[in-house]
Symmetry: C2
Subunit: 247 residues, 2 copies
């Protein structure tokens, strides 16, 4: 038995997210179906975390154990040959039997892509949010700076089905707003993220950028620890799980 660590890229457009669902097409489900064919026995794929319906990934990390003795090169080739073209295995590594994609993750980076102009090139429509209104980037950066660090992010998450499990305190290493012409990228890097946290942070930064709220209000929203309609959830298609780093 060998443990493998894989890095997965996927176009989330046609998936009901990462995690296996009884009756929906998911990325984890696709991977497990392919590995079943290769291994001859059921394989459980453990991801570093879930992603929502419509969210993409450049570097989701997962692990699993195989009975059959594959080399990393052969396994990558076989998986990519059997997977649909909107899911790609970007990298395969052999891992120690104690490796765990979720428990040992040191930090994760998400990127949210925004096209800020009257019209958006249609080739970007599935992987970028179109915001035609003027965005005040400096105000967004001020608000983002307030959100970096160790905070209770209860005001920036959706309550998952079944309610919160555990703390809503997270360490957000970095929340940056980059601008490259009409393309704006929000980079969020942290030790862990709450359910829909990046989309909530993005939703708030966009309200600040549009001038609907003032950057200086960020602190009071954060300190309220209550999610209200003041913090909208940005749509999924602009969001990418960019990479996961390990100790």
């Amino acid at each position: 038995m060998k443990r493998f660590k894989i890095t997965v890229g996927f176009d989330g457009t046609h998936y009901c997210g990462w995690q296996v669902q009884p009756s929906d097409v998911t990325v984890q489900g696709r991977l497990e179906a392919v590995l079943f064919r290769l291994n001859g026995e059921r394989v459980k794929v453990h991801g570093s975390g879930r992603t929502d319906q419509g969210v993409h990934a450049r570097g989701q990390v997962a692990h699993f154990d195989l009975e059959k003795p594959f080399t990393t090169v052969a396994l990558m080739r076989a998986m990519n040959a059997l997977l649909p073209e909107d899911v790609r295995i970007m990298r395969v590594e052999e891992a120690h039997a104690s490796f765990h994609s979720r428990k040992l993750a040191k930090d994760k980076e998400y990127r949210y892509f925004i096209w800020n102009s009257a019209t958006m090139p249609p080739t970007d429509r599935l992987h970028c949010l179109h915001v035609p209104q003027h965005l005040d980037i400096e105000a967004m950066r001020q608000a983002a700076a307030v959100l970096e660090g160790l905070h209770d992010f209860a005001a920036f998450t959706s309550v998952p089905r079944g309610g919160f499990k555990g703390s809503t305190i997270r360490l957000l290493h970095e929340l940056k707003v980059r601008k490259d012409g009409k393309r704006i990228v929000i980079v969020a890097r942290g030790e862990g993220f709450l359910y829909r946290m990046v989309r909530c942070l993005t939703g708030w930064l966009l309200r600040v950028g549009k001038g609907e709220v003032d950057a200086s209000e960020t602190e009071s929203v954060l300190e309220s620890c209550i999610r209200t309609a003041r913090v909208p959830t940005a749509p999924p298609q602009g969001l990418f799980l960019w990479n996961v780093r390990y100790r």
Copy 2:
């Protein structure tokens, strides 16, 4: 009657190219169908040129005449409301009655996108060519420099149905190979292009980059003025008609 100049972006994935075909879905056909609804009478849309099946556009330019007195803002909004989301009107301008999108074009720029790494992020798969082999960028740049300028490009075109019409001499202002990490962009700007010329130029540059042929052979291929299997046609999905400039 008013003449309008429009700038059109489209995702060519699901289209049989630009030009109206009797039984296929084309971008020109979509535009004419929408304008028929808005104008109440048939409208002929004149593009700056054709694009092949599967090729995309960021800035195709076209013109047409409308009976109804639309403002540019209202026309853009109405067209985008009726068009499918893979075709977007990026800009609408009123044009002089003598404006002609093809005849008055000064130059055109095409860009061909290549992802040069073992695996390609799946969100790029419809708008980028995946080349896993190592590419020698310097050799590609040497070959590209030979191709810039005024030449007979008969060796770098497909013979269109019905044979060549007129000269195969074209002025290629610029053929540059840019590299940004794993993304390579071939920029081709010229007064006019032959049928499939950019895809043929790209096909040749890729052979040079892979080391299948030497950059120094470019001159003899160009001077042969005969298209052979030595010059492959690169696939359409990496190609964008980037913009068209006017006098």
